[in-house]
């Protein structure tokens, strides 16, 4: 997680052009005093008021090295989380904050459970960085990136959660490509030589991910999700029967409704491609039992029904989709964000360490 950032930050400068001229309404030092005292809610409220992240981060940098390492490192993650919530100046400020904290953790001599939990928390935040995805972005210098990954792995070479999280980060490279035209790269209709070349590159990445997830399937802490994510890779490799087998195994070995929903959605998608539309309909209905308002399964189900001529039920589902709440959640929307869904749990653990 101790990123690379140097070259990356400059690519984000253009996004800062409207950084507010206002001075920060809250100072990092005052918030940190509250943080050390365990008043986390007050700190969250204070961070929500920051309007100029660049100024805030500069201020943070001036004081950060003098602060005790454990609360400082966790406080920095809270700052990153708040930046992710902010509509302004994401990117440069986020990675700048993370770099500051990473450097501190790396050079502190700390080891053990706290360092592992901190890395897991930091990686989950970066994985949740929406379009930023600093670790996944192919523009990031891979030499620096490899050095960082090596650093984490040397510190925690066998920890399955760290290995899993690093693999999720690799998978985000795939999702970066799957955006928009990336999806169509995998479509055989994309005929240009460049598209063919891109498809080849994706195949290499899929092969890499396949090996990593396969090796993680024997680790009980991450086995179920590694299995489902391996199924996703197999699906992209057009190996649908293998996908279905993995999804059966993954779903049977977890009590996590989020993961079960994903497994059922992928099962329906695979069955759709295999032409087993009645089975696909069943899979989408089963997914909706877990998340009744999820758009991904609703529209998948509606599309199958539409093509079977069942227009009345299709209309009913579409009407429900179009009248849904703006905050309606869908487990699928979290999929590309790796471990970000676990951020609240990581944060809770890290706050306990601060106390």
């Amino acid at each position: 997680v101790c990123l690379l950032i140097l070259g990356f930050t400059s690519t984000r400068d253009s996004a800062r052009s409207t950084a507010s001229l206002q001075t920060p309404v809250v100072s990092p030092s005052s918030l940190f005093e509250l943080y050390k005292a365990g008043d986390f809610d007050a700190v969250s409220a204070g961070l929500a008021k920051v309007s100029d992240w660049n100024a805030f981060i500069k201020d943070l940098g001036r004081n950060f090295k003098g602060w005790p390492v454990v609360p400082a490192a966790v406080f920095a993650l809270e700052v990153v989380a708040a930046e992710l919530e902010s509509p302004r100046d994401r990117g440069g400020a986020i990675v700048g904050t993370m770099e500051l904290a990473c450097d501190r953790v790396r050079t502190s001599g700390l080891s053990g459970v706290f360092v592992r939990d901190w890395h897991l928390g930091a990686m989950s935040l970066l994985q949740g960085g929406n379009q930023e995805w600093p670790l996944a972005d192919p523009r990031v210098d891979f030499g620096l990136k490899t050095a960082h990954v090596d650093h984490v792995l040397k510190s925690l070479p066998t920890d399955p959660q760290i290995r899993f999280s690093l693999t999720l980060t690799e998978e985000q490279r795939l999702h970066w490509w799957l955006q928009r035209a990336g999806v169509e790269i995998l479509n055989p209709r994309a005929k240009s030589q460049l598209a063919l070349s891109a498809r080849t590159n994706q195949r290499a990445l899929l092969k890499e991910l396949s090996g990593r997830y396969e090796s993680l399937r024997s680790e009980p802490l991450v086995s179920a999700e590694a299995t489902v994510r391996l199924a996703f890779v197999r699906k992209l490799q057009d190996q649908y029967e293998a996908t279905l087998q993995l999804l059966r195994e993954g779903e049977a070995s977890t009590q996590d409704d989020w993961l079960k929903y994903i497994a059922r959605l992928f099962r329906g998608q695979s069955l759709t491609v295999l032409g087993r539309r009645d089975d696909a309909i069943l899979a989408f209905r089963e997914a909706l039992q877990l998340s009744p308002n999820a758009q991904s399964a609703r529209l998948s189900l509606a599309s199958m029904l539409y093509l079977q001529g069942k227009r009345a039920e299709t209309s009913e589902i579409v009407r429900a989709v179009l009248s849904s709440s703006p905050t309606e959640d869908d487990p699928w929307f979290w999929y590309a964000y790796g471990n970000y869904r676990h951020w609240p749990r990581y944060l809770s653990t890290l706050r306990a360490a601060v106390r």
């Binding site: 984000r12 996004a15 052009s17 929307f333």
Partner: protein, 310 residues
């Protein structure tokens, strides 16, 4: 805004649009209607009659019963892409922080509403991770609380278009779907072939009005440029949607407000011919491929590629 609401009232409320809609599939009855755009360069061709058209259903020439223009009221679904990749420009372009993009959208939507006639109906929708119907004043403002859209907000553009197309058609009305978007999709789940099958079988005409690279959010511009450099033809999938549904693909250039293109999209639909025929010499049920031509004339024809009868 008051004018805009007044116009909405004049053309019928959203409740009316939803409540009065009957699940009638026009192609399932004896006569089939096909919206056809005929252009000579950028200009619509006027004055054509039955004898100017040739229509083939599954390769079999059909007898066209009548040709009309602008005869039936329009059900217009207006889909506005409010995802971060397009709308964050509001926050990042100097001078546009307050109201810039909202105003930009507002003008466009108001322009479309002004073109509706009595009997026409409007269904405004907004698109990001989810697609959903909104009250019209809402569509031109950012509905999410500040900040909440940054986490996990994605864009289900292709799924959203399909959702709108799967709505039931109503006999005696024409359906137009206009999508204002930057073309980025990050979270659609429907398989390409499924999407294409639905587009081929639905009766809506989809006009896509897309924002050129220069208008897209600068935070995303270089990422998109990189993908474009690999893919080459970045917009082919959008043109494919338009082509399959008999619609058109428009682009908005740098600094160009959307109003003109949106207006153009509605006006283009108004100039279309509606051909009606009863299929003969072909199986009634199943998939039907449609080809419409104007023999002997080099016009550009846009019409849906087919339909399906259960």
């Amino acid at each position: 805004m008051r004018h805009l609401l007044a116009r909405l009232t004049a053309v019928g409320s959203l409740a009316a649009l939803l409540g009065q809609t009957q699940p009638v599939f026009k192609s399932g009855v004896d006569a089939v209607t096909v919206d056809v755009s005929v252009q000579d360069g950028r200009n619509p061709v006027q004055g054509l009659s039955i004898n100017d058209f040739e229509l083939r259903d599954n390769g079999v020439p059909q007898k066209i019963l009548d040709v009309s223009r602008d005869a039936a009221p329009i059900d217009l679904s207006l889909v506005i892409d409010l995802s971060a990749s397009l709308t964050l420009a509001t926050y990042t372009l100097p001078g546009f922080f307050i109201g810039g993009r909202d105003q930009w959208l507002h003008e466009g939507v108001r322009g479309v509403v002004a073109l509706l006639k009595p009997g026409d109906r409007l269904q405004p929708l907004q698109l990001a991770s989810n697609i959903r119907q909104v009250k019209l004043p809402y569509v031109v403002g950012r509905p999410a609380t500040r900040g909440s859209h940054n986490r996990l907000e994605r864009t289900s553009l292709f799924d959203g278009v399909v959702a709108v197309l799967m709505q039931p058609a109503e006999a005696g009305r024409r359906r137009l779907i206009i999508v204002l978007t930057d073309g980025i999709d990050s979270s659609s789940v429907l398989d390409y072939k499924i999407r294409a099958d639905i587009m081929d079988r639905s009766e809506g005409v989809v006009h896509l009005v897309t924002v050129e690279q220069t208008q897209r959010n600068p935070q995303f511009a270089d990422s998109i440029a990189r993908v474009m450099s690999v893919v080459g033809d970045y917009d082919w999938i959008l043109r494919d949607i338009a082509s399959r549904t008999g619609g058109r693909f428009y682009t908005i250039g740098a600094d160009e407000p959307p109003a003109r293109r949106l207006r153009e999209a509605v006006e283009e639909f108004r100039t279309r011919y509606v051909l009606r025929y009863v299929p003969t010499g072909v199986e009634r049920t199943g998939s039907h491929d449609l080809v419409v031509t104007t023999p002997g004339k080099r016009y550009q024809i846009h019409a849906r590629r087919g339909y399906f009868v259960q």
